[in-house]
Amino acid sequence: MSIAATDISWASGGEAIVQGVTLEVREGETFGLLGPNGSGKSSLLRVLAGLRVPQSGQVALDGADLRAMAPRRIARRIAVVEQHAATDIAISVIEVVRLGRTPHHGILSGWTAEDDRIVEKALARVDLGHRRNQPFHTLSGGERQRVQLARALAQNPTHLILDEPTNHLDIQHQLEILALVQALPITSIVALHDLNLAAMFCDRLGVMKAGRLIACGAPEDVLSAAMIADVFGVRAHVAPSAHHGRVHVQFLR
């Protein structure tokens, strides 16, 4: 149950966004993707999810080339939570979560009790059962993110790809979402801005700079003062935390 990218490059409008990235994410791990804005994190995630086709290289899901798989087969395995899911349509929370069952249905197949059970379980997992009939667009940013996560879980995926899921959330909900993702028994790839949250919740980290993956490994190996200075251009002090045992980054003036 692993996802492996081999030397993938993706360009848009003549501009190279992802360049020669090779990466393997192991079964069950939570993999964090770091890097400044515009370093190619979102694009790399889209390529890994099969939403963009790389100009060179390939992405393999358990050894099978993603390009050779039908969209529906991919969607039963990989679920995506976008940075900003928005709609003008007055759709309710439960209807959004039900969208997650789309890849499991053909044109003629009907809705089943099993579908209902999976949707309810996903909704309960993000603790939003009481909001089921509320219109999606009236929710707060954190609640919308949780609804999208529930929709992704309703896909019953083996892989979850999240693009900065904690953006615009208050700290309580940032911790909640990441704890939830980490506890899931599936493989997750998460783009994050906050180095300390990444260190706390991810098993391994990858660092993007100008479209390239320049570091990959355990948080304590990847997060160093030298790397932070090189990639983010700021001075920092990195040391193990006395409270949770993972490394902790303190920025310096």
């Binding site: 889209r46 999810a49 099969g50 939403l51 039908a70 969209p71 529906r72 087969r73 991919i74 969607a75 039963r76 990989i78 679920a79 995506v80 976008e82 899911a85 928005a86 709609t87 003008d88 349509i89 007055a90 759709i91 309710s92 209807e95 959004v96 969208l99 997650g100 789309t102 890849p103 249905h105 044109i107 896909q155």
Partner: protein, 337 residues
């Protein structure tokens, strides 16, 4: 909304549609009672043998019933096209008329009519279809397929202007006075002179279109959060978009080729239906088609009653209802932005 209430609602709209059709058949220089219309229909399909006046039966069968049925089909087809475009382009203002697709179809049909390429129902439809398709491609290329609602509408305005200008050019250089009058009336929409072959063509296209659209109901739901979201739910976005845009173009083009460009039905009806049955396309699409049919039959009745015995172009009636509605949506969209 529960399944039972939904069924009752659907039955109510369907009965209203049948009553409206019976009323529409009754209106004209020779008023005909709804009971006579019913008897004429049951006689024809062999259920009854009620004696009727020959002339009344002839008026019902040769003029009025085909007209009323075509109005219903036209309303269903245009409303359905609007619903599909709004979902696919994620734009509450999208519909064939606003996007200039009706204008393109008009240009195609007028070209065929006036440039002497033949004037049968089939050639006219093919001309309108080609025109609609050209306008469609024009709008999609100009707007891109991104999320920008404004660009789509702007591209539609450009398409409307362009194709209306081309139509005027063709009309003013090729037509004589008599042709100009008939073309102009036709461009505002008219159910006059509709015959049974038109009805068969329209019913085939609408039935096929409705079937294809309903088969894609789940895929359309998946577009709620945009194209990437649809793709990540396993939708073959390119294929679905191509199929549904082609179906929309076909339905619009067929309607325009028969009755001219009728605006705002595709805009108003899907919103009204969404308000009642919600955004899920399995309910929304049939509800839209049914409501559109009812609305158009009523609009046709109004067009014949308002300045009787003269007839108002039906496009005028739909615009008089549609524009205020359009304004409300614009206003709400501005507040939401």
């Amino acid at each position: 909304m529960s399944g039972l209430r939904l069924l009752v609602g659907a039955a109510a709209v369907l009965s209203a549609l049948l009553v409206a059709i019976a009323l529409a058949v009754g209106i004209g220089e020779m008023p005909i009672a709804p009971a006579t219309t019913l008897a004429a229909v049951t006689n024809r399909i062999g259920l009854t043998e009620i004696p009727l006046r020959r002339i009344e039966e002839a008026v019902i069968w040769d003029y009025r019933l085909s007209r009323a049925l075509l109005a219903a089909l036209c309303g269903a087809g245009l409303a359905l096209s609007g619903a599909i475009l709004q979902s696919l382009l994620r734009n509450p203002l999208a519909e064939p008329y606003v996007l200039g697709i009706s204008a393109g179809a008009s240009t195609g049909a007028v070209s065929v009519m006036l440039l002497g390429l033949g004037a049968g129902t089939v050639t006219l439809s093919l001309g309108a279809f080609a025109g609609a398709l050209v306008a469609f491609v024009f709008v999609i290329l100009l707007a891109g397929t991104g999320q920008a609602a404004d660009r789509t509408i702007l591209a539609g305005v450009a398409a409307s202007q362009l194709f209306n200008a081309l139509t005027s050019w063709i009309v003013s250089t090729s037509a004589d006075a008599e042709q100009v009058r008939s073309v102009m009336f036709w461009l505002l929409g008219s159910f006059a002179g509709v015959r049974w072959p038109d009805v068969w063509l329209a019913s085939g296209v609408v039935a096929a279109g409705l079937a294809v659209c309903i088969a894609h109901a789940r895929a359309l739901d998946a577009f709620t959060f945009g194209e990437d979201a649809a793709r990540s739910l396993g939708i073959d976005v390119r294929r679905v978009r191509a199929v549904l845009l082609a179906v929309t173009a076909l339905m619009t083009a067929t309607m325009v080729s028969i009755v001219g460009a009728i605006g705002f039905v595709g805009l108003v009806i899907p919103h009204a239906a969404r308000f009642v049955v919600g955004p899920g396309h399995r309910r929304l699409l049939p509800a839209t088609a049914l409501t559109g049919a009812l609305f158009m039959v009523l609009a046709d009745i109004a067009s014949r009653l308002v300045i009787a015995p003269q007839i108002l172009p039906v496009g005028v009636v739909t615009a008089l209802v549609g524009v205020p509605f359009f304004s409300v949506i614009l206003y709400r969209a501005r507040r939401a932005a």
